[in-house]
Amino acid sequence: MTAPLPATLRLCVRRRRVPSPSGATVQVSLRVPSDVSCIEEVVDLVTRHCCSGAWPNRKLRFNLRVAVAEALANAIVAGNHEDRSKSVEVNAEVSGEVIRIKVTDQGEGFDPASIATPLEPEELDRPNGRGLFLIRHLVDEVQFNPQGNSICMTLRRR
């Protein structure tokens, strides 16, 4: 059982019907404080809303959790530098076949192409640089806004 959401979390869940055989589109929006201790709870919450019913696949659920945790950590630590006066916006949308999650911080952004992943044997003892690499392998599609402070991750049901 997870602890209650901190008062600073703002959660809004909207459900609306779309004219599709896949049924309802579910939208989840959260404003998350720049506090890494919130990550696990936000991941649980987003996963619960995105993976109910139509998304029972264990592997997809795992990939979603790691990707969201990773994107939140990047946003809070690298983007907002854990500045408690800043927050992170999380928007998740689920249709019958697709989950799309956008994570936006209030930082200056970064160039995703500038991140080198330590995969060579002599680099493996580097403690960082694996986050974006993991996200790219765990979800089907990754897009950034031009500023580089917002990542959109798409997972498709196979």
């Binding site: 990550i39 945790a69 986050g131």
Partner: protein, 113 residues
């Protein structure tokens, strides 16, 4: 989420990761292992059989811990990775950096050889 630690009768120190290993608690794990090293423990197993997921900070913490243990003449082994967790190690090639056993018991036993 948290960590529990115990010493096997054969003298191997086993730390179990309960829940997630992520940016919010990686320092706690690093401190737990450092404390064990400070108390003279040199054969250490980190067990993930009760772990949900690990993020890149958690993987990075394991890399740092491994380095620290080696520097102090110790030996670190991992255990209990399910298929999903193991895939993270394989993707990042960290499965080549760590000695990984299926279970904590096997990891403990591997020190005897």
């Amino acid at each position: 989420m948290g960590f529990t630690a115990s010493k096997d009768p054969s003298g191997v120190y086993v730390v179990r990761v309960e829940g997630q290993l992520i940016v919010g608690n990686r320092q706690e794990l690093k401190s737990a292992v450092q404390e064990a090293l400070d108390h003279g423990e040199r054969r250490i197993v980190i067990d993930f059989s009760r772990t949900g997921y690990i993020d890149s900070s958690g993987l990075g913490a394991l890399v740092s811990i491994s380095k620290k243990v080696r520097e102090q003449g110790g030996d670190l082994r991992l255990s209990g990775l399910n298929e999903d967790l193991r895939s993270l190690f394989e993707l990042t090639k960290l499965d080549t950096l760590f000695a990984i056993s299926d279970t904590a018991e096997q990891a403990v036993g591997s020190f005897a050889g």
